[in-house]
Protein backbone atom coordinates (compact mmCIF):
# COMPACT_ATOMS: atom_id res chain seq x y z
CA UNK A 1 0.00 0.00 0.00
CA UNK A 2 1.28 3.41 -0.96
CA UNK A 3 0.08 5.37 2.08
CA UNK A 4 1.56 8.63 0.90
CA UNK A 5 -0.54 8.51 -2.26
CA UNK A 6 -3.58 7.49 -0.24
CA UNK A 7 -3.05 10.39 2.15
CA UNK A 8 -2.66 12.81 -0.76
CA UNK A 9 -5.93 11.68 -2.35
CA UNK A 10 -7.77 11.89 0.98
CA UNK A 11 -6.46 15.39 1.55
CA UNK A 12 -7.55 16.39 -1.94
CA UNK A 13 -11.03 14.91 -1.45
CA UNK A 14 -11.46 16.76 1.83
CA UNK A 15 -10.20 20.07 0.45
CA UNK A 16 -12.48 19.65 -2.53
CA UNK A 17 -15.45 18.72 -0.35
CA UNK A 18 -14.74 21.66 1.94
CA UNK A 19 -15.18 24.03 -0.99
CA UNK A 20 -18.76 22.83 -1.45
CA UNK A 21 -21.31 24.88 0.48
CA UNK A 22 -23.92 22.12 0.67
CA UNK A 23 -21.37 19.95 2.38
CA UNK A 24 -20.60 22.56 5.03
CA UNK A 25 -24.25 22.91 5.86
CA UNK A 26 -24.57 19.19 6.41
CA UNK A 27 -21.32 18.96 8.38
CA UNK A 28 -21.91 21.80 10.78
CA UNK A 29 -25.52 22.88 10.45
CA UNK A 30 -27.21 19.50 10.75
CA UNK A 31 -25.22 18.22 13.77
CA UNK A 32 -25.62 21.55 15.55
CA UNK A 33 -29.36 21.52 14.94
CA UNK A 34 -30.01 17.86 15.72
CA UNK A 35 -27.43 17.25 18.40
CA UNK A 36 -27.18 20.56 20.24
CA UNK A 37 -30.12 22.90 19.77
CA UNK A 38 -32.91 20.31 19.78
CA UNK A 39 -31.67 18.23 22.75
CA UNK A 40 -30.85 21.31 24.83
CA UNK A 41 -34.37 22.57 24.16
CA UNK A 42 -35.87 19.25 25.24
CA UNK A 43 -33.75 19.04 28.36
CA UNK A 44 -34.55 22.61 29.35
CA UNK A 45 -38.32 22.12 29.01
CA UNK A 46 -39.00 21.21 32.67
CA UNK A 47 -37.21 24.39 33.76
CA UNK A 48 -38.67 26.72 31.14
CA UNK A 49 -42.21 25.44 30.61
CA UNK A 50 -42.99 22.96 33.40
CA UNK A 51 -46.70 22.90 32.57
CA UNK A 52 -45.91 21.44 29.13
CA UNK A 53 -44.62 18.16 30.54
CA UNK A 54 -47.49 15.79 30.16
CA UNK A 55 -47.25 13.21 32.90
CA UNK A 56 -49.60 10.83 31.19
CA UNK A 57 -47.50 10.82 28.07
CA UNK A 58 -44.48 10.14 30.21
CA UNK A 59 -46.24 7.17 31.72
CA UNK A 60 -47.12 5.71 28.34
CA UNK A 61 -43.51 6.02 27.36
CA UNK A 62 -42.42 4.38 30.58
CA UNK A 63 -44.70 1.40 30.00
CA UNK A 64 -42.61 0.29 27.05
CA UNK A 65 -39.30 0.88 28.77
CA UNK A 66 -37.36 -2.31 29.58
CA UNK A 67 -37.86 -3.39 33.22
CA UNK A 68 -34.27 -2.81 34.29
CA UNK A 69 -34.34 0.71 33.04
CA UNK A 70 -37.78 1.34 34.51
CA UNK A 71 -36.52 0.34 37.92
CA UNK A 72 -33.73 2.86 37.68
CA UNK A 73 -36.00 5.59 36.38
CA UNK A 74 -38.51 4.89 39.13
CA UNK A 75 -36.27 6.70 41.57
CA UNK A 76 -36.65 9.99 39.71
CA UNK A 77 -39.21 12.78 39.91
CA UNK A 78 -41.30 13.32 36.78
CA UNK A 79 -39.18 16.27 35.65
CA UNK A 80 -36.02 14.33 36.09
CA UNK A 81 -37.46 11.35 34.29
CA UNK A 82 -38.22 13.61 31.37
CA UNK A 83 -34.68 14.91 31.27
CA UNK A 84 -33.23 11.41 31.55
CA UNK A 85 -35.38 10.07 28.74
CA UNK A 86 -34.78 13.08 26.52
CA UNK A 87 -31.03 13.32 26.99
CA UNK A 88 -30.12 9.66 27.28
CA UNK A 89 -32.55 7.93 24.93
CA UNK A 90 -34.46 10.10 22.53
CA UNK A 91 -31.45 11.33 20.57
CA UNK A 92 -29.59 8.07 20.24
CA UNK A 93 -30.72 7.44 16.65
CA UNK A 94 -29.44 10.85 15.60
CA UNK A 95 -25.97 9.66 16.47
CA UNK A 96 -26.40 7.07 13.76
CA UNK A 97 -28.04 9.39 11.29
CA UNK A 98 -25.28 12.01 11.37
CA UNK A 99 -22.31 9.70 10.60
CA UNK A 100 -24.35 7.95 7.90
CA UNK A 101 -25.23 11.22 6.28
CA UNK A 102 -21.72 12.65 6.40
CA UNK A 103 -19.92 9.59 5.07
CA UNK A 104 -22.50 9.19 2.35
CA UNK A 105 -22.21 12.81 1.22
CA UNK A 106 -18.42 12.76 1.00
CA UNK A 107 -18.36 9.42 -0.78
CA UNK A 108 -20.93 10.61 -3.30
CA UNK A 109 -18.92 13.77 -3.88
CA UNK A 110 -15.64 11.87 -4.15
CA UNK A 111 -16.85 9.37 -6.74
CA UNK A 112 -20.02 10.48 -8.52
CA UNK A 113 -19.14 14.16 -8.00
CA UNK A 114 -15.69 13.63 -9.38
CA UNK A 115 -17.16 11.82 -12.35
CA UNK A 116 -19.56 14.71 -12.91
CA UNK A 117 -16.69 17.21 -12.82
CA UNK A 118 -14.73 14.92 -15.18
CA UNK A 119 -11.72 14.73 -12.92
CA UNK A 120 -12.02 11.06 -12.07
CA UNK A 121 -10.40 9.94 -15.30
CA UNK A 122 -7.23 11.86 -14.53
CA UNK A 123 -7.00 10.09 -11.20
CA UNK A 124 -7.22 6.73 -12.96
CA UNK A 125 -4.09 7.50 -15.01
CA UNK A 126 -2.05 8.02 -11.87
CA UNK A 127 0.11 5.33 -10.29
CA UNK A 128 -2.42 4.33 -7.65
CA UNK A 129 -3.93 0.87 -7.56
CA UNK A 130 -7.66 0.19 -7.60
CA UNK A 131 -7.40 -0.97 -3.97
CA UNK A 132 -5.54 2.19 -2.94
CA UNK A 133 -8.11 4.31 -4.71
CA UNK A 134 -10.91 2.46 -2.91
CA UNK A 135 -9.24 2.88 0.47
CA UNK A 136 -8.66 6.60 -0.16
CA UNK A 137 -12.28 7.16 -1.05
CA UNK A 138 -13.52 5.17 1.95
CA UNK A 139 -11.20 6.83 4.47
CA UNK A 140 -11.87 10.29 3.06
CA UNK A 141 -15.53 9.77 3.90
CA UNK A 142 -15.24 7.67 7.03
CA UNK A 143 -12.67 9.65 9.02
CA UNK A 144 -14.60 12.95 8.97
CA UNK A 145 -17.85 11.12 9.73
CA UNK A 146 -16.32 9.53 12.81
CA UNK A 147 -14.54 12.71 13.86
CA UNK A 148 -17.70 14.77 13.61
CA UNK A 149 -19.64 12.09 15.50
CA UNK A 150 -17.06 12.10 18.28
CA UNK A 151 -17.02 15.88 18.51
CA UNK A 152 -20.83 15.91 18.49
CA UNK A 153 -20.86 13.34 21.27
CA UNK A 154 -18.58 15.45 23.43
CA UNK A 155 -20.46 18.66 22.72
CA UNK A 156 -23.79 16.90 23.24
CA UNK A 157 -22.60 15.46 26.56
CA UNK A 158 -21.48 18.85 27.83
CA UNK A 159 -24.59 20.59 26.53
CA UNK A 160 -27.20 18.22 28.00
CA UNK A 161 -25.39 17.86 31.31
CA UNK A 162 -25.21 21.61 31.58
CA UNK A 163 -28.79 22.22 30.45
CA UNK A 164 -30.21 19.48 32.69
CA UNK A 165 -28.13 20.26 35.75
CA UNK A 166 -30.81 22.50 37.22
CA UNK A 167 -33.29 19.64 37.14
CA UNK A 168 -30.99 16.74 37.95
CA UNK A 169 -28.55 18.40 40.37
CA UNK A 170 -25.81 16.05 39.08
CA UNK A 171 -24.16 14.81 35.89
CA UNK A 172 -26.50 12.28 34.34
CA UNK A 173 -25.13 11.66 30.84
CA UNK A 174 -24.11 9.25 29.37
CA UNK A 175 -25.87 6.05 30.28
CA UNK A 176 -23.71 2.96 29.55
CA UNK A 177 -25.46 2.19 26.23
CA UNK A 178 -23.86 5.29 24.69
CA UNK A 179 -20.38 3.85 24.64
CA UNK A 180 -21.14 0.97 22.27
CA UNK A 181 -23.46 3.27 20.33
CA UNK A 182 -20.80 5.86 19.58
CA UNK A 183 -17.78 3.61 19.28
CA UNK A 184 -19.26 0.46 17.80
CA UNK A 185 -22.56 1.09 16.05
CA UNK A 186 -21.89 4.56 14.63
CA UNK A 187 -18.68 3.51 12.79
CA UNK A 188 -20.48 0.43 11.44
CA UNK A 189 -23.55 2.22 10.10
CA UNK A 190 -21.33 4.92 8.72
CA UNK A 191 -19.23 2.33 6.88
CA UNK A 192 -22.34 0.54 5.65
CA UNK A 193 -23.94 3.66 4.24
CA UNK A 194 -20.62 4.65 2.75
CA UNK A 195 -20.26 1.29 1.02
CA UNK A 196 -23.77 1.57 -0.39
CA UNK A 197 -22.97 5.06 -1.63
CA UNK A 198 -19.78 3.80 -3.28
CA UNK A 199 -21.72 1.08 -5.07
CA UNK A 200 -24.32 3.57 -6.24
CA UNK A 201 -21.80 6.28 -7.08
CA UNK A 202 -19.84 3.95 -9.31
CA UNK A 203 -22.92 3.87 -11.55
CA UNK A 204 -24.40 7.32 -10.93
CA UNK A 205 -23.67 10.21 -13.28
CA UNK A 206 -23.78 13.02 -10.75
CA UNK A 207 -23.37 13.87 -7.09
CA UNK A 208 -27.07 14.66 -6.71
CA UNK A 209 -28.15 11.43 -8.36
CA UNK A 210 -25.86 9.41 -6.10
CA UNK A 211 -27.09 11.28 -3.04
CA UNK A 212 -30.71 10.72 -3.86
CA UNK A 213 -30.28 7.10 -4.77
CA UNK A 214 -28.44 6.34 -1.56
CA UNK A 215 -31.02 8.18 0.54
CA UNK A 216 -32.92 4.98 1.25
CA UNK A 217 -30.20 3.68 3.54
CA UNK A 218 -31.30 6.03 6.30
CA UNK A 219 -34.71 4.32 6.39
CA UNK A 220 -33.75 1.70 9.01
CA UNK A 221 -32.46 4.49 11.22
CA UNK A 222 -35.63 6.50 10.74
CA UNK A 223 -37.59 3.38 11.69
CA UNK A 224 -35.47 3.10 14.79
CA UNK A 225 -36.15 6.73 15.55
CA UNK A 226 -39.90 6.44 15.15
CA UNK A 227 -39.82 3.35 17.37
CA UNK A 228 -37.78 5.16 19.94
CA UNK A 229 -39.86 8.30 20.15
CA UNK A 230 -43.19 6.50 20.22
CA UNK A 231 -41.83 4.47 23.08
CA UNK A 232 -41.89 1.16 21.19
CA UNK A 233 -38.62 0.09 22.61
CA UNK A 234 -35.61 1.64 24.21
CA UNK A 235 -32.09 0.78 23.30
CA UNK A 236 -30.48 -0.97 26.20
CA UNK A 237 -26.74 -1.62 26.30
CA UNK A 238 -27.22 -5.20 25.14
CA UNK A 239 -29.50 -4.28 22.30
CA UNK A 240 -26.99 -1.66 21.21
CA UNK A 241 -24.13 -4.15 21.34
CA UNK A 242 -26.15 -6.62 19.31
CA UNK A 243 -27.07 -4.01 16.73
CA UNK A 244 -23.39 -3.06 16.60
CA UNK A 245 -22.27 -6.59 15.77
CA UNK A 246 -25.04 -6.96 13.22
CA UNK A 247 -24.19 -3.68 11.50
CA UNK A 248 -20.50 -4.54 11.38
CA UNK A 249 -21.33 -7.76 9.60
CA UNK A 250 -23.53 -5.90 7.13
CA UNK A 251 -20.99 -3.10 6.71
CA UNK A 252 -18.12 -5.48 5.95
CA UNK A 253 -20.21 -7.39 3.47
CA UNK A 254 -21.25 -4.21 1.69
CA UNK A 255 -17.64 -2.96 1.72
CA UNK A 256 -16.57 -6.19 0.06
CA UNK A 257 -19.12 -5.68 -2.69
CA UNK A 258 -18.09 -2.04 -3.05
CA UNK A 259 -14.40 -2.96 -3.55
CA UNK A 260 -15.25 -4.59 -6.84
CA UNK A 261 -17.04 -1.48 -8.10
CA UNK A 262 -13.94 0.66 -7.91
CA UNK A 263 -12.14 -0.67 -10.93
CA UNK A 264 -10.70 1.42 -13.71
CA UNK A 265 -12.54 -0.25 -16.54
CA UNK A 266 -15.91 0.08 -14.77
CA UNK A 267 -15.34 3.71 -13.89
CA UNK A 268 -13.85 4.92 -17.14
CA UNK A 269 -16.47 3.28 -19.31
CA UNK A 270 -18.90 5.76 -17.83
CA UNK A 271 -16.94 8.97 -17.63
Amino acid sequence: MNWRAIRAVIRKDLLQAASNRIIWVSFIGVPVMLLVIMPVGMVLMPQLVPEQIDLRELETMLRSVPPGLKARLGAFLADQMWVMLAANYMFMPFFLLVPMMISSIIAADGIAGEKERKTLEGLLYMPISDAELFISKVLAAWIPALAITLVSFIVYGLAVNLAGYGTMQRLFFPEPAWWPLVFLVAPAVSLASLAVTVIISAKAKSFMAAQQASGFIVLPVIALMVGQVSGLFFLSTWVVLLIGVLFWAIALMLAKIATNKISRDELVTQV
Binding site: A5, A8, K12, L15, S19, T119, M126, P127, D265
Partner: protein, 318 residues
Protein backbone atom coordinates in the same frame (compact mmCIF):
# COMPACT_ATOMS: atom_id res chain seq x y z
CA UNK B 1 16.79 -0.02 -24.52
CA UNK B 2 14.73 -0.24 -27.66
CA UNK B 3 13.80 2.85 -29.54
CA UNK B 4 10.17 1.85 -29.85
CA UNK B 5 8.20 3.36 -26.98
CA UNK B 6 4.67 2.45 -27.97
CA UNK B 7 3.81 -0.54 -30.07
CA UNK B 8 0.35 -1.86 -30.73
CA UNK B 9 -0.73 -4.77 -32.83
CA UNK B 10 -4.34 -5.00 -34.00
CA UNK B 11 -5.50 -3.31 -30.79
CA UNK B 12 -9.29 -3.43 -30.55
CA UNK B 13 -11.96 -2.15 -28.20
CA UNK B 14 -15.71 -2.27 -28.54
CA UNK B 15 -18.51 -0.54 -26.66
CA UNK B 16 -21.49 -2.78 -27.12
CA UNK B 17 -21.59 -3.48 -30.83
CA UNK B 18 -19.73 -0.30 -31.78
CA UNK B 19 -16.06 -0.77 -32.49
CA UNK B 20 -14.28 2.27 -31.05
CA UNK B 21 -10.75 1.10 -31.85
CA UNK B 22 -10.49 -1.33 -34.71
CA UNK B 23 -7.35 -3.45 -35.14
CA UNK B 24 -5.10 -0.47 -34.60
CA UNK B 25 -1.44 -0.99 -35.31
CA UNK B 26 1.06 1.74 -34.63
CA UNK B 27 4.57 2.44 -33.42
CA UNK B 28 5.84 5.52 -31.67
CA UNK B 29 9.56 6.08 -31.28
CA UNK B 30 11.60 7.51 -28.46
CA UNK B 31 11.95 11.27 -28.50
CA UNK B 32 9.42 12.02 -31.17
CA UNK B 33 6.21 14.03 -31.06
CA UNK B 34 3.53 11.79 -32.50
CA UNK B 35 0.14 13.16 -33.51
CA UNK B 36 -2.98 11.04 -33.68
CA UNK B 37 -5.29 12.94 -36.00
CA UNK B 38 -8.92 12.20 -36.61
CA UNK B 39 -12.43 13.59 -36.51
CA UNK B 40 -14.72 13.51 -33.46
CA UNK B 41 -15.44 9.98 -32.37
CA UNK B 42 -12.54 8.53 -34.35
CA UNK B 43 -11.24 6.65 -31.32
CA UNK B 44 -8.36 8.88 -30.23
CA UNK B 45 -9.27 9.12 -26.55
CA UNK B 46 -10.14 5.45 -26.42
CA UNK B 47 -6.69 4.67 -27.81
CA UNK B 48 -5.04 6.69 -25.04
CA UNK B 49 -7.12 4.88 -22.44
CA UNK B 50 -6.14 1.52 -23.90
CA UNK B 51 -2.47 2.46 -24.02
CA UNK B 52 -2.58 3.26 -20.32
CA UNK B 53 -4.41 0.15 -19.26
CA UNK B 54 -7.25 2.29 -17.95
CA UNK B 55 -9.58 0.54 -20.35
CA UNK B 56 -9.22 -3.16 -21.14
CA UNK B 57 -8.74 -4.17 -24.76
CA UNK B 58 -10.90 -6.72 -26.53
CA UNK B 59 -8.25 -7.90 -28.91
CA UNK B 60 -4.73 -7.36 -30.10
CA UNK B 61 -1.88 -6.20 -27.91
CA UNK B 62 -0.22 -3.02 -26.80
CA UNK B 63 3.24 -2.57 -25.33
CA UNK B 64 4.61 0.60 -23.80
CA UNK B 65 8.32 0.71 -22.87
CA UNK B 66 8.29 -2.90 -23.99
CA UNK B 67 5.84 -3.83 -21.22
CA UNK B 68 2.37 -5.19 -21.73
CA UNK B 69 -0.19 -2.50 -20.88
CA UNK B 70 -2.67 -4.87 -19.32
CA UNK B 71 -0.25 -6.83 -17.17
CA UNK B 72 2.15 -4.06 -16.22
CA UNK B 73 -0.05 -1.00 -16.16
CA UNK B 74 1.16 0.01 -12.69
CA UNK B 75 4.84 0.19 -13.71
CA UNK B 76 3.99 1.99 -16.93
CA UNK B 77 1.88 4.61 -15.17
CA UNK B 78 4.77 5.84 -13.04
CA UNK B 79 6.71 6.85 -16.17
CA UNK B 80 3.81 8.42 -18.04
CA UNK B 81 1.89 11.70 -17.83
CA UNK B 82 -1.58 12.13 -19.28
CA UNK B 83 -3.49 15.30 -20.07
CA UNK B 84 -7.11 14.20 -20.28
CA UNK B 85 -9.60 15.75 -22.66
CA UNK B 86 -11.32 17.55 -19.79
CA UNK B 87 -8.47 18.91 -17.68
CA UNK B 88 -8.06 17.16 -14.35
CA UNK B 89 -7.66 20.11 -12.06
CA UNK B 90 -9.54 20.45 -8.82
CA UNK B 91 -11.52 23.66 -8.47
CA UNK B 92 -11.57 23.61 -4.70
CA UNK B 93 -7.77 23.45 -4.51
CA UNK B 94 -5.12 26.01 -5.35
CA UNK B 95 -2.66 25.41 -8.19
CA UNK B 96 0.01 24.55 -5.65
CA UNK B 97 -2.24 22.04 -3.89
CA UNK B 98 -3.15 20.47 -7.21
CA UNK B 99 0.53 20.01 -8.04
CA UNK B 100 1.30 18.70 -4.53
CA UNK B 101 -1.32 16.02 -4.98
CA UNK B 102 0.23 14.85 -8.23
CA UNK B 103 3.79 15.06 -6.89
CA UNK B 104 2.89 12.96 -3.88
CA UNK B 105 0.98 10.33 -5.79
CA UNK B 106 3.89 9.96 -8.24
CA UNK B 107 6.24 9.67 -5.28
CA UNK B 108 8.45 12.72 -5.78
CA UNK B 109 10.89 13.26 -2.90
CA UNK B 110 9.10 15.24 -0.17
CA UNK B 111 12.17 17.40 0.37
CA UNK B 112 12.36 18.34 -3.30
CA UNK B 113 8.66 18.71 -3.99
CA UNK B 114 8.25 22.41 -3.06
CA UNK B 115 11.17 23.42 -5.26
CA UNK B 116 9.93 21.31 -8.15
CA UNK B 117 6.44 22.81 -7.82
CA UNK B 118 7.88 26.33 -7.81
CA UNK B 119 9.88 25.50 -10.93
CA UNK B 120 6.85 24.13 -12.77
CA UNK B 121 4.66 27.05 -11.70
CA UNK B 122 7.25 29.44 -13.14
CA UNK B 123 7.61 27.46 -16.38
CA UNK B 124 3.88 27.54 -16.93
CA UNK B 125 3.55 31.16 -15.82
CA UNK B 126 1.25 30.44 -12.93
CA UNK B 127 3.40 31.64 -10.05
CA UNK B 128 1.46 34.83 -9.38
CA UNK B 129 -1.80 32.92 -8.93
CA UNK B 130 -0.32 29.77 -7.36
CA UNK B 131 -2.23 30.12 -4.10
CA UNK B 132 -5.60 31.07 -5.57
CA UNK B 133 -8.34 28.49 -5.90
CA UNK B 134 -8.50 27.07 -9.41
CA UNK B 135 -12.22 27.93 -9.49
CA UNK B 136 -11.12 31.54 -10.06
CA UNK B 137 -8.92 30.71 -13.08
CA UNK B 138 -9.57 31.42 -16.76
CA UNK B 139 -9.84 28.48 -19.11
CA UNK B 140 -6.36 29.11 -20.47
CA UNK B 141 -4.86 29.13 -16.98
CA UNK B 142 -6.67 25.93 -16.06
CA UNK B 143 -5.31 24.27 -19.16
CA UNK B 144 -1.78 25.45 -18.37
CA UNK B 145 -2.13 24.03 -14.89
CA UNK B 146 -3.48 20.79 -16.32
CA UNK B 147 -0.44 20.54 -18.59
CA UNK B 148 1.90 21.50 -15.75
CA UNK B 149 0.55 18.63 -13.68
CA UNK B 150 1.16 16.28 -16.59
CA UNK B 151 4.85 17.16 -16.66
CA UNK B 152 5.65 17.64 -12.96
CA UNK B 153 7.11 14.19 -12.34
CA UNK B 154 9.34 14.35 -15.42
CA UNK B 155 7.55 11.62 -17.38
CA UNK B 156 9.33 9.87 -20.25
CA UNK B 157 6.10 9.62 -22.22
CA UNK B 158 3.30 12.17 -22.24
CA UNK B 159 -0.16 11.91 -23.77
CA UNK B 160 -1.93 15.18 -24.56
CA UNK B 161 -5.56 14.72 -25.52
CA UNK B 162 -6.62 17.85 -27.40
CA UNK B 163 -4.37 20.22 -25.49
CA UNK B 164 -5.72 23.40 -27.10
CA UNK B 165 -9.39 22.64 -27.57
CA UNK B 166 -11.65 25.45 -26.47
CA UNK B 167 -8.83 27.95 -25.99
CA UNK B 168 -8.64 31.35 -27.65
CA UNK B 169 -5.86 31.72 -30.25
CA UNK B 170 -3.48 33.39 -27.84
CA UNK B 171 -3.96 30.84 -25.08
CA UNK B 172 -3.69 28.07 -27.67
CA UNK B 173 -0.42 29.48 -28.97
CA UNK B 174 0.94 29.66 -25.46
CA UNK B 175 0.05 26.02 -24.90
CA UNK B 176 1.72 24.99 -28.15
CA UNK B 177 4.85 26.87 -27.16
CA UNK B 178 4.89 25.28 -23.73
CA UNK B 179 4.53 21.85 -25.28
CA UNK B 180 7.36 22.65 -27.71
CA UNK B 181 9.54 23.59 -24.73
CA UNK B 182 8.76 20.34 -22.96
CA UNK B 183 9.13 18.13 -26.02
CA UNK B 184 12.55 16.92 -27.14
CA UNK B 185 13.83 17.22 -23.56
CA UNK B 186 15.84 14.26 -22.32
CA UNK B 187 14.46 11.99 -25.00
CA UNK B 188 10.89 12.59 -23.92
CA UNK B 189 8.20 11.17 -26.20
CA UNK B 190 4.93 13.01 -26.74
CA UNK B 191 1.69 11.57 -28.08
CA UNK B 192 -0.88 14.21 -29.06
CA UNK B 193 -4.50 13.60 -30.01
CA UNK B 194 -5.97 16.43 -31.98
CA UNK B 195 -8.13 17.49 -34.84
CA UNK B 196 -6.37 20.81 -35.00
CA UNK B 197 -4.17 20.31 -38.05
CA UNK B 198 -2.21 23.55 -37.80
CA UNK B 199 -1.23 22.75 -34.28
CA UNK B 200 -0.24 19.23 -35.29
CA UNK B 201 1.80 20.65 -38.16
CA UNK B 202 3.77 22.80 -35.74
CA UNK B 203 4.30 20.10 -33.15
CA UNK B 204 4.42 16.67 -34.70
CA UNK B 205 7.34 14.74 -36.17
CA UNK B 206 5.09 11.88 -37.22
CA UNK B 207 1.35 11.53 -37.49
CA UNK B 208 -1.28 8.85 -37.75
CA UNK B 209 -4.66 9.51 -39.32
CA UNK B 210 -7.43 7.55 -37.65
CA UNK B 211 -11.10 7.28 -38.51
CA UNK B 212 -13.77 4.99 -37.10
CA UNK B 213 -11.10 3.33 -35.03
CA UNK B 214 -8.95 2.41 -38.00
CA UNK B 215 -5.50 3.75 -38.86
CA UNK B 216 -5.69 5.14 -42.39
CA UNK B 217 -2.07 6.25 -42.70
CA UNK B 218 0.94 6.67 -40.50
CA UNK B 219 4.31 8.33 -41.02
CA UNK B 220 6.11 11.66 -41.11
CA UNK B 221 4.33 14.37 -43.10
CA UNK B 222 7.06 14.13 -45.76
CA UNK B 223 6.68 10.37 -46.03
CA UNK B 224 2.93 10.63 -46.30
CA UNK B 225 3.16 13.34 -48.94
CA UNK B 226 5.56 11.17 -50.87
CA UNK B 227 3.18 8.21 -50.73
CA UNK B 228 0.23 10.35 -51.74
CA UNK B 229 1.75 12.28 -54.59
CA UNK B 230 4.53 9.93 -55.67
CA UNK B 231 7.43 12.31 -55.42
CA UNK B 232 8.31 15.82 -54.68
CA UNK B 233 6.64 18.51 -56.74
CA UNK B 234 8.50 21.59 -57.90
CA UNK B 235 6.99 24.35 -60.00
CA UNK B 236 9.36 26.50 -62.01
CA UNK B 237 8.43 29.78 -63.58
CA UNK B 238 10.34 30.84 -66.70
CA UNK B 239 10.73 34.25 -68.31
CA UNK B 240 9.64 32.78 -71.65
CA UNK B 241 8.43 29.34 -72.78
CA UNK B 242 10.97 26.72 -73.80
CA UNK B 243 11.21 25.80 -77.43
CA UNK B 244 10.66 22.18 -78.50
CA UNK B 245 14.37 21.89 -79.13
CA UNK B 246 15.20 23.06 -75.62
CA UNK B 247 12.68 20.63 -74.20
CA UNK B 248 14.20 17.78 -76.15
CA UNK B 249 17.70 18.51 -74.95
CA UNK B 250 16.45 18.40 -71.38
CA UNK B 251 16.33 14.67 -71.96
CA UNK B 252 15.41 12.52 -69.03
CA UNK B 253 14.26 15.37 -66.78
CA UNK B 254 10.58 14.81 -67.08
CA UNK B 255 8.20 17.63 -66.86
CA UNK B 256 4.64 16.92 -65.94
CA UNK B 257 3.39 20.12 -67.47
CA UNK B 258 -0.19 20.79 -66.60
CA UNK B 259 -2.32 21.63 -69.64
CA UNK B 260 -3.97 24.35 -67.64
CA UNK B 261 -0.70 26.03 -66.80
CA UNK B 262 0.64 28.80 -69.00
CA UNK B 263 3.64 27.58 -71.01
CA UNK B 264 6.01 29.53 -68.76
CA UNK B 265 5.02 27.40 -65.76
CA UNK B 266 6.65 23.95 -65.62
CA UNK B 267 5.81 21.32 -63.05
CA UNK B 268 8.30 18.60 -62.13
CA UNK B 269 7.99 15.54 -60.00
CA UNK B 270 11.27 14.73 -58.31
CA UNK B 271 12.39 11.88 -56.05
CA UNK B 272 13.32 14.36 -53.31
CA UNK B 273 14.41 17.84 -52.35
CA UNK B 274 18.04 17.00 -53.12
CA UNK B 275 17.17 16.70 -56.85
CA UNK B 276 16.20 20.37 -57.11
CA UNK B 277 19.69 21.82 -57.74
CA UNK B 278 20.32 19.27 -60.55
CA UNK B 279 17.05 20.19 -62.19
CA UNK B 280 17.86 23.89 -62.00
CA UNK B 281 21.30 23.45 -63.50
CA UNK B 282 19.91 21.20 -66.25
CA UNK B 283 17.40 23.89 -67.14
CA UNK B 284 20.09 26.55 -67.16
CA UNK B 285 22.17 24.23 -69.31
CA UNK B 286 19.58 24.31 -72.09
CA UNK B 287 19.34 28.08 -71.83
CA UNK B 288 16.12 28.38 -69.83
CA UNK B 289 15.73 31.70 -68.04
CA UNK B 290 14.36 30.94 -64.57
CA UNK B 291 12.30 33.50 -62.70
CA UNK B 292 11.21 31.42 -59.67
CA UNK B 293 11.63 27.93 -58.21
CA UNK B 294 8.71 26.79 -56.03
CA UNK B 295 9.09 23.52 -54.19
CA UNK B 296 5.47 22.53 -53.56
CA UNK B 297 4.96 22.12 -49.87
CA UNK B 298 2.14 19.86 -48.79
CA UNK B 299 0.71 21.07 -45.55
CA UNK B 300 -0.52 18.56 -43.01
CA UNK B 301 -3.97 19.81 -43.91
CA UNK B 302 -3.46 18.71 -47.56
CA UNK B 303 -2.14 15.38 -46.39
CA UNK B 304 -4.95 14.79 -43.93
CA UNK B 305 -7.69 15.44 -46.44
CA UNK B 306 -5.93 13.49 -49.17
CA UNK B 307 -5.62 10.50 -46.86
CA UNK B 308 -9.28 10.67 -45.96
CA UNK B 309 -10.29 11.10 -49.60
CA UNK B 310 -8.19 8.16 -50.70
CA UNK B 311 -9.77 6.09 -47.98
CA UNK B 312 -13.30 7.11 -48.97
CA UNK B 313 -12.59 6.25 -52.59
CA UNK B 314 -11.18 2.85 -51.70
CA UNK B 315 -14.23 2.30 -49.50
CA UNK B 316 -16.54 3.07 -52.42
CA UNK B 317 -14.54 0.78 -54.71
CA UNK B 318 -15.19 -2.24 -52.50
Amino acid sequence: MSNVIIQTDALTRRFGTRVAVDALTLEVHRGEVFGLLGPNGAGKSTTVRLLNGVLASHGGSARVFGQDVAAQAAQIRRRVGVLTETPTVYDGLTARQNLELVGEVYGLEPAQLPARIAEVLAEFELQTRADDKVATYSKGMRQRLAIARTFIHGPELVYLDEPTSGLDPEAARMVVELVQQQAHREGRTIFICTHNLDEAERLCDRVGVIDQGRMLAIGSPAELAHQLWQGYRVVIKLAEPLSDQQLQSLGEVTSRGDANNPPTLLEFSLPGLQAVPDLVSALCGVGARIVRVDPQHHSLRDIYFAVRQRHQRSGEGQ
